[in-house]
């Protein structure tokens, strides 16, 4: 299917058609720019023990977004978790999705929300940059570079 407006359309209609196509083509990019990720770091443990991914996600757009998960070529399995502490007992809770209203910020931080990254597909060292893709309910994706940090990083 060709994206060129049909030659028989009047000129004004053609112009509208082009504008519409342009909007469709750029909407994904525009939305991605409105999600900001900072302080992305990945705390490694020795061997193939699961790593923790931490970052701050800001929804600077005018609409709510729903984070549904993440994946990375460097890991076989990535899950969203939250550490919960109840009566002095701590455990991890799986997080299926996380809604960020317009303008809202969420911190993935030690003792709270975190990515649990398991089954390394290659050797990783402290200082490496590791690409992780964040996935959202509307099909949007955002690629984020995480810096690998040592086990003793707080």
């Amino acid at each position: 299917m060709s994206l060129t407006p049909h030659p028989s359309l009047p000129r004004l209609a053609k112009r509208w058609c082009w504008t519409f196509l342009l909007l469709i083509a750029t909407s994904g990019t525009l939305a991605a720019a409105e999600l900001e990720v900072s302080e992305a770091r990945l705390r490694l443990l020795p061997g193939d023990l699961p790593a923790a991914g931490y970052f701050t996600l800001t929804n600077a757009s005018e609409k709510g977004v729903t984070l549904t998960g993440a994946d990375s070529l460097a890991f076989g399995n990535v899950m969203m978790h939250r550490t919960v502490n109840q009566d002095g007992v701590t455990r991890m809770q799986r997080v299926e999705q996380l809604v960020l209203q317009a303008g809202e910020q969420v911190e993935f931080a030690p003792g709270d929300y975190h990515l649990m990254l398991m089954k390394r597909t290659r050797n990783l060292a402290i200082g490496d940059d590791i690409e992780v893709t964040l996935r959202f309910a509307n099909g949007q994706q955002q690629s984020v570079t995480f810096r690998a940090v040592s086990s003793t990083t707080q």
Partner: protein
């Protein structure tokens, strides 16, 4: 001399004389002294007596724990890094894995080495772990296994601190300010 100086000096002097207060949670006398029979990270049977002589920090966890266990251990590492070497050498951290199925001595050794020489990994069979956790009134449990065989382990989040005689002194939490942890550990290492 300004009028306010006298009460200020007097109160400082009184504070100096009085018993210094712990800044994290004081549990002296509320828990029994350090006692256990476990396996260390070299595969040897060990008892608590072998760890008397240094201040001991006891923490329950598991190595397949990406978030809270390394966070707690990293905090203890950061606290001891702020001390002079002699004080640091007087403190040992016993990381007791409540997940012996996955945490064999070798895994434990590699894990604790990532945090520093003062970190020692211990574990044991269910009977030994049950006895130790009951002694300090903490619980642990296993979550459901997923298709990859991975499972979560619930465990207590606080660190128990004992003096060099194995007498219980403190309960240290991740929410305690770092300055408070450093001050208390230095005081503990000085023999309090």
């Amino acid at each position: 001399m300004a009028r306010w100086i006298i009460p200020v000096v007097a109160s400082l002097w009184l504070v100096g004389c009085g018993e210094q207060a712990w800044q994290t949670k004081d549990i002296s006398g509320l828990m029994p002294p350090l006692e256990f029979e476990l396996i260390d990270e070299n595969g040897n049977d060990v008892t608590a007596d072998q760890f008397i002589g240094k201040s001991t920090l006891l923490f329950f966890g598991f190595t397949h724990c990406p978030d809270v266990c390394p966070t707690t251990l990293a905090r203890l590492d950061a606290a001891t890094q702020r001390m002079d070497e002699a004080t640091r050498d007087d403190i040992q951290v016993l990381f007791v894995s409540v997940d012996p199925r996955r945490d064999d001595p070798e895994t434990l050794r590699t894990y604790t080495d990532a945090f520093g020489p003062q970190f020692i990994g211990l574990t044991g069979d269910k009977a030994a772990l049950d006895e130790l956790t009951r002694r300090y009134r903490v619980t642990y449990g296993y979550g459901e296994e997923d298709s990859d065989g991975n499972y979560d382990v619930s465990h207590s989040s606080a660190v128990f601190a004992f003096n060099d005689q194995g007498e219980v002194r403190l309960l240290i939490r991740d929410s305690d300010p770092m300055d408070a942890v450093v001050a208390d550990l230095e005081r503990l290492a000085s023999g309090a």
